[in-house]
């Protein structure tokens, strides 16, 4: 697990993980690169990564998932090079 500060360096061998707003402040980081296992057919899911990253117990159903900047299901297997974001409840407008 590599913590990257500042501009992200896309890497085909890793999954870029982003946290926003309250989630970022609680975790103390905004971006991580998670190394993927080249031998593994199916990558980890956002729900699994949430636990691996010890972000706070089970994945809160209020937290939405974006994969490559599209809303996605928390159980979608991730691919190397994917950008995963955990989004706390939205409050725009």
């Amino acid at each position: 697990m590599v913590s990257v500060v500042g501009v992200a360096v896309p890497s085909v061998g890793t999954i870029r993980i982003l946290l926003f707003a309250e989630l970022r402040e609680r975790a103390g980081w905004g971006e991580h690169h998670w190394p993927t296992n080249p031998g593994c057919a199916a990558g980890p899911t956002p729900r699994e990564l949430w636990l691996h990253l010890q972000l706070s117990g089970e994945l809160d159903p209020q937290v939405r998932i974006a994969i490559n900047r599209e809303f996605a299901d928390a159980d979608t297997p991730l691919q190397p090079g994917d950008e995963l974001a955990f989004l706390p409840p939205i409050s725009g407008g």
């Binding site: 309250e22 409050s91 407008g93």
Partner: protein, 150 residues
């Protein structure tokens, strides 16, 4: 469909933006819409728990926020068959009284213009990645966990 979406990292004047938008269209030879519905949202001077608000901070997800705004606008405008759509949204530190959001919809009929304006506002409030943090006068702050009630 004419669509214009912008994120502003500094203050914007909704009426000035609207005027420029209409002038651009007029210069392109596009006739003014028969029906135009607009909504302007501004920062309240008090926090959700009733204290004085120093400022509101608006965080977004660069790349995804713009993409989502465009998708939500396209979907809503197609569904209502409207011809013009302007969405302007602030990011960063916003002071009480300043505009956060402007939605303007031009259509041939008032019904679609009004419904589209209303639905797009709700859509972006719930499905475009923005997060608000209230800053209090004592320097403390709090992330909001949702929108103000309708």
């Amino acid at each position: 469909m004419q669509l214009k979406i912008d994120l502003h990292s500094t203050g914007f004047e909704p009426l000035v933006v609207l005027e420029h938008w209409q002038q651009e269209q007029a210069q392109s030879g596009i006739a003014a819409s028969a029906a135009e519905a607009q909504f302007i949202g501004r920062v309240r001077g008090i926090t959700t728990d009733g204290r004085a608000l120093e400022a509101l901070e608006l965080e977004h997800y660069p790349g995804m926020t713009e993409q989502q705004l465009e998708r939500l606008a396209q979907e809503c405008c197609n569904r209502h068959g409207v011809s013009r759509c302007l969405v302007q949204h602030r990011i960063g530190r916003v002071l009480p009284g300043e505009a956060i959001v402007l939605v303007a919809i031009g259509a041939d009929r008032r019904g679609p213009a009004q419904r589209c304006c209303q639905e797009l506002l709700e859509a972006l409030k719930h499905h475009a990645p923005f997060w608000k943090r209230e800053w209090h006068t004592d320097g403390s702050s709090e992330w909001l966990s949702g929108n103000t009630p309708l």
